[in-house]
């Protein structure tokens, strides 16, 4: 993907907020890019435009060699569906919906050549296996830990084989250990499957899991450099003590019998 002279202005009452003031950068396939910056720096606006959730006021956004900056809304929806996988801070899983149904959801909105139910099911299973959720395919989100929920969300982002995964503060709601686990998944997907990851975070240590760091301030890119000392989640995880067993909620099927009293 490549952006050139990207600007975005909002009307807030009387005055205009210039959220992006000319951003130009390009990200090659297979990169793991971390975007940081203080709040109000424009990184969120950049992410919204990169995710085709919003259109720039001016400038060009090319995704897979196609200018998507001026596409109509329905076309943008199609691009989001086929080329972009979202992972959010708050997971945004559908409640009362099993993990596998959550993962299947983007398949239901495929605009062309949709899949049969059996094929959808197969793909969702494969996607869940890729993020290592174990056998909890039919758990509801409220039966899963935060890390497990984020895994489901990543599996959902993967299912349409997107060109790029946009992760917006994916570790914001997770503890340190789970954060490392989740970043490990991103690193593995990036390394093994060559998936492009665009990670938005305001935590520098999380950003160091990427290969390249872009820093935003006041609507401009102020730094764009390779990460010197890249962290490796897999190694860090191996060094940590094993998780306490009570962190994993029991599966509903495996509830202990309470007959003997």
């Amino acid at each position: 993907m490549a952006v050139k002279d990207l600007t975005k202005e909002y009307k807030m009452g009387d005055h205009t907020v210039r959220a992006l003031r000319g951003v130009s950068l390009s990200i090659e396939a297979g990169e793991f890019v971390a975007v940081t910056g203080p709040s109000g720096s424009g990184k969120s606006t950049f992410m919204h435009i990169a995710g085709c959730l919003d259109r720039p006021s001016s400038g060009v956004y090319e995704l897979d060699g196609r200018d998507v900056s001026k596409l109509p809304k329905d076309e943008l929806a199609r691009v989001r569906n086929s080329k972009i996988g979202f992972v959010f801070q708050g997971f945004n899983l559908l409640t009362r919906t099993t993990a596998i149904d959550n993962v299947e959801l983007p398949l239901l909105y495929r605009h062309a050549n949709g899949f049969r139910a059996s094929e959808r099911h197969k793909r969702a299973l494969a996607s869940l296996d890729a993020v290592g959720l174990g056998q909890r395919y039919h758990h509801m989100p409220n039966q899963l830990s935060g890390g497990q929920q984020q895994r489901v969300a990543i599996a959902r982002a993967l299912i349409n084989e997107p060109s790029i995964i946009l992760a917006d503060e994916p570790t914001g709601n997770l503890d340190t250990r789970t954060s490392i686990e989740v970043m490990g998944i991103f690193q593995r997907l990036n390394r093994e499957q060559g998936i492009t990851v665009l990670l938005i975070t305001h935590e520098l240590d999380i950003a160091e899991y990427g290969t390249r760091l872009i820093r935003f301030r006041d609507g401009r890119v102020v730094a764009d450099q390779a990460v010197l000392h890249r962290r490796n989640a897999a190694d860090e995880l191996a060094a940590l003590p094993p998780p306490e067993p009570d962190q994993i909620p029991p599966a509903p099927e495996a509830q202990p019998q309470t007959a003997a009293h």
Binding site: D74, A77, R78, F88, N92, R110
Partner: protein, 409 residues
């Protein structure tokens, strides 16, 4: 996205909150059930009226004496004319399309047998009455043409009268009873016919004698009050009605030039049915109207819940938009959710309405028939309500900005 997929998504969303779905449906269920039950009552009442009126006879045309016009333009009320005569009835026998003709003149009188007595209506008629009314006899035989010619003192009892005077199961044929100060011989008893054309006394609580007997022995009148005419077939009724009226005008010397108005009235059973049905319809329309209001309230309930649901599921909508749902997909999802609720509610409502009308039938003795078109209308109407009241919330959902929606707390 295909319609099927949208349907699937809507069903899944509804299944996720079953309690709320059920409660929303309840509004529709009650509304549709009320409409169905009320329409069923109305239709049942109409069928009942038709049944009652039809007991009067098949293909029946009734001629009544009209108002008497005296000199100076003073007009009496209906039935005041004394110009309906046995000769008129005789003339009607030659009218094409007419099968039976029976003169009618009645009086109210006391019947006495042994130590029993009963006050009832004496209907003076002729031998065609059992044919006109398709009314068989239980005991004995109807009186004969000779009886009519001779103004014989013979009498045929209605089954109620027979039961009262002689007790049930006793054949009173050839027994003599007293009518005013005359001795009449019972020649037969009619079979039980049941209620008359609504309101009027039971068909079984009357007795029949030759009309000549009533005129000469009981009332001394020269005129008759009604003529019952039976058309040869249902198709012949209209033509026969017109011919009857024309014949009577000729009989009475009423022409277009003379400026006189008809001194008789010709009515078919359909006229009577229409009259009574109109009254029943007013009532059932009123009830259906009230029920319709509850249907609209149910629809507003759907809109209310859908609006709450859109707000509550803002993040869900944001997510769906983010992963590639178009606005139209979201619009259709919420619209279909509303339509599914209303149609499912409508379907259960039809069942409930059916149940209610059955119960009314069984325990309240109210006739209730559910017309098929009412069911179709109820289904269409509930779908319409789903679309109408679901559209606004659905458009609200579809109009959400994905970024705002995802941030919504």
């Amino acid at each position: 996205m295909s319609m099927l997929m949208t349907l699937r998504i809507a069903f899944k969303a509804l299944g996720r909150n079953k309690m709320r779905t059920m409660l929303t449906m309840l509004g529709m269920i009650i509304g549709v059930a009320a409409v169905i039950a009320m329409v069923a009552l109305g239709t049942g009442a109409q069928a009942q009226i038709e049944d009652q009126v039809k007991t009067a006879g098949t293909n029946l045309i009734t001629v009544r004496a009209g108002s008497a016009s005296a000199v100076g333009g003073v007009r009496g009320g209906a039935g005041t004319s004394t110009r309906l005569l046995p000769e008129d009835a005789q003339a009607l026998r030659d009218v094409p399309g007419v099968q039976y003709v029976a003169e009618s003149i009645s009086t109210q009188t006391q019947l006495i047998y042994s130590n029993q007595n009963w006050n009832t209506r004496v209907e003076g008629t002729n031998v065609d009455l059992p044919s006109i009314r398709s009314w068989p006899l239980k005991y004995g035989a109807f009186f004969t043409d000779e009886d009519v010619k001779a103004a014989a003192k013979v009498i045929v009892l209605g089954s109620n009268v027979s039961n009262i005077l002689f007790g049930e199961g006793n054949d009173p044929t050839d027994v003599q009873i007293r009518v005013r100060n005359h001795i009449f011989r019972v020649v037969g008893v009619m079979a039980t016919k049941g209620a008359g054309a609504g309101g009027q006394q039971s068909m079984d609580d009357q007795v029949f004698t030759p009309y000549t007997t009533v005129m000469k022995k009981l009332t001394g009148q020269q005129n008759i009050t009604q003529i019952y005419v039976s058309a040869a077939s249902a198709d012949a009724i209209d033509a026969a009605t017109a011919a009857v009226a024309a014949t009577l005008r000729a009989q009475h010397g009423i022409t277009d030039q003379s400026g006189q108005s008809d001194d008789f009235m010709v009515q078919t059973l359909d006229d009577i049915v229409a009259l009574r049905t109109a009254a029943a319809n007013t009532m059932s329309n009123l009830l259906a109207g009230v029920a319709g209001v509850s249907l609209v309230v149910g629809g507003i309930g759907i809109m209310n819940i859908m609006l709450v649901s859109v707000t509550e599921r803002t993040r869900e909508i944001g997510l769906r938009l983010a992963i590639g749902a178009r606005s139209s997909d979201v619009l259709m999802q919420f619209l279909i959710e509303a339509i599914v609720i209303s149609i499912a509610g409508g379907a259960v409502g039809i069942g409930t309405g059916y149940l209610v009308s059955e119960l009314l039938n069984r325990y309240q003795g109210l006739a209730a028939t559910i017309p098929l078109n009412a069911v179709f209308i109820a289904v269409l109407f509930s779908a319409g309500i789903g679309i109408f009241f679901g559209f606004y919330p659905a458009r609200k959902a579809a109009g959400l900005d994905p970024i705002e929606a995802l941030r919504f707390e």
